[in-house]
């Protein structure tokens, strides 16, 4: 074969493989949406779930998912920002840093069910937190932290060293240069990473089954005192999320409309994650333009 034919052959092979991936994805998402979307209604989104009769909704699960996500980000973002800044800007190039970086990589490849069992043994049992949102949020932090840290580190690394030199040459300390020059420039990348990570956290089930629990305790949406057990903001109540709800219905659901509830919940989950992904792109682009083409 001549080079031209080989090239054509290779290109077509790659096209077929890429097409295959798209088809599988489109089939999965399409199937979930086609089966689930008809079941989504205002009633479905705003009423509590039922265990034995049909007509249950997902209001608690939906709220729990978002609340858990917010708590997880509140815990994991500051830590990963600090760790990312350290790794990118300050860490000396030595074996200790390498071990640290390797630990983060290993942590990021831990199966989420292991994270869940670890969280169960340590936080739920040992620290007596019980099945609770806070135990779930801490477990998800373990799950989210390594990815977020690498993301922050990479976003900071992608900022040119020329910018660091510019700050230093103007008599700024390293810290001020990082805070006022490097982080603003890396912000689009950091925000994109957070939102994409949020999508992963939002869809996580295995790590939560053993930590946040599988029951959706009754929530009183008129009570916003976080120390009241019925309050939505209470973090020591067990809290089933959307993903756990799907898992539970499919493994032990006995309500008559279990299949429809499961499909509807899946569709809601997928839509939310899609929104996260799209908004990550939008936000990233917008921030990038704001900080580079500063059209003010």
């Amino acid at each position: 074969m001549n080079p031209k034919t080989i090239n054509k052959f290779a290109l077509n092979t790659i096209k077929v493989i890429a097409g295959l991936v798209v088809i599988i994805l489109a089939f999965l998402i399409g199937r979930i949406l086609i089966q689930g979307v008809p079941h989504i209604s205002w009633h479905f989104l705003t009423s509590p779930s039922q265990e034995f009769v049909s007509g249950g909704g997902i209001s608690y699960q939906l709220f729990n998912s978002f609340y858990l996500l917010v708590l997880t980000l509140l815990i994991s973002f500051p830590i990963s920002l600090g760790a990312g800044i350290f790794l990118s800007e300050y860490a000396p190039k030595n074996w200790l840093t390498e071990i640290l970086r390797m630990s983060i990589e290993i942590l990021s490849s831990l199966p989420s069910v292991v994270v869940g069992l670890f969280g169960f043994l340590l936080f739920v049992v040992q620290f007596k937190l019980g099945f609770s949102i806070i135990a779930g949020a801490i477990a998800l932090t373990f799950f989210n932290l390594p990815l977020l840290t690498s993301n922050v580190e990479q976003a900071l690394n992608s900022v040119s060293d020329l910018q660091r030199e510019a700050g230093m040459a103007l008599g700024l300390s390293k810290w001020r240069t990082v805070i006022k020059v490097i982080i603003p420039e890396a912000l689009p990348g950091i925000v994109t990473g957070i939102v994409l990570g949020a999508g992963r956290v939002f869809g996580e089930a295995a790590a939560l089954i053993y930590t946040a629990g599988q029951s959706a305790s009754t929530i009183d949406f008129t009570n916003w005192n976080p120390f009241n057990a019925a309050s939505p903001l209470n973090w020591s109540r067990p809290a089933e999320t959307l993903a756990v709800h799907i898992w539970k219905i499919n493994s032990e659901g006995i309500m008559p409309d279990a299949a429809a509830v499961s499909a509807g919940t899946s569709a809601v989950l997928i839509i939310v994650v899609l929104i996260f992904n799209l908004s990550a792109r939008y936000l990233g682009n917008k921030l990038y333009r704001k900080f580079t083409a500063a059209g003010k």
Binding site: S160, L162, Q163, E165, A166, G167, M168, A169, L170, G171, L172, S173, R176, K180, V181, P184, E185, F291, T292, A293, A294, G295, K296
Partner: protein
């Protein structure tokens, strides 16, 4: 041609009489090491105030290394021994507050590196960090710095727009404006025009001629025409040694050393 044939210790370094001329900066026995690599040997040079001094030499001759040592940009990268005298202070000593020192000795880099902020913020940013918050004062600084860097006329109507939208030459002049907004005594320039087109280069050179009324400039350049056009004094660097230091006119017309002669006449390397 064998570049190793020159005697690196056969040097001709001009000495000023500090009683007659005012020195902005004086280095004494400056040595730079990158790990085990001895990159620069024994530089003792005096830089006269309000003059432009050019550092020329082939790649790897140590001129940029030398320049970056002068405002301690090599801290943490290289080990620098010797003294750098600035206003009766040895700024190479560990007791020196390098951040404060860099406000007096500014630097412009080879590649334009404006912050991805607006033109105005590029200039006011470090000034504000330095404690000047008064809006009127900041506006004055923006205008005067841009005027001195010969950029004001081109950008005065778009101060709020991004610095990254400027051309390379404009960006470099913005970087000069940003450096002089800190009101330094000395400006170090590391091949400031090497990434620019000829027209932008000329603009930057004109800017430098203007700037030397107020600042002492030390410039590293690969471009010998540039050195001969703008500088008052020239130091020729070769393999980590300063071979010759003299008035620019002498370096380019009657160099005393063979290495210098070969380099400026293009018979080198």
């Amino acid at each position: 041609m064998d570049v190793g044939k020159y005697d690196l210790n056969d040097t001709a370094i001009m000495q000023f009489d500090p009683k007659e001329k005012e020195m902005a900066l004086t280095t004494k026995n400056l040595q730079v090491y990158y790990g085990d690599n001895h990159a620069f040997y024994d530089g003792s040079l005096q830089f006269e105030r309000y003059k432009i001094t050019a550092l020329i030499g082939a790649s790897g001759s140590g001129k940029s290394t030398f320049l970056r040592s002068l405002n301690r940009m090599n801290d943490g990268i290289a080990k620098v021994d010797g003294n750098i005298w600035y206003r009766s202070l040895d700024i190479n000593s560990s007791a020196i507050n390098v951040y404060e020192m860099r406000k007096h000795i500014g630097m412009v880099f080879q590649r334009p590196n404006p912050f991805s902020k607006s033109i105005r913020e590029n200039i006011t940013f470090a000034v504000k960090e330095n404690g000047i918050k008064d809006k009127k004062k900041l506006d004055e600084i923006v205008e005067s710095s841009l005027k001195r860097a010969a950029l004001w006329e081109e950008v005065k109507d778009q101060l709020g727009s991004s610095a990254l939208a400027l051309s390379g030459g404009q960006q470099q002049r913005l970087c000069i404006a940003r450096a002089i907004a800190m009101q330094p005594d000395i400006l170090l320039m590391d091949e400031p025009a090497s990434a620019l087109d000829p027209i932008s280069t000329l603009k930057v050179e004109e800017t430098m001629m203007e700037l030397k009324k107020h600042y002492t400039i030390i410039i590293v350049t690969h471009n010998m025409q540039q050195a001969s056009r703008v500088s008052d004094y020239t130091a020729f660097f070769h393999l980590g040694h300063v071979i010759e230091y003299d008035k620019t006119k002498n370096i380019f017309t009657f160099p005393q050393k063979k290495a210098t002669d070969d380099y400026v006449s293009g018979n080198f390397g």
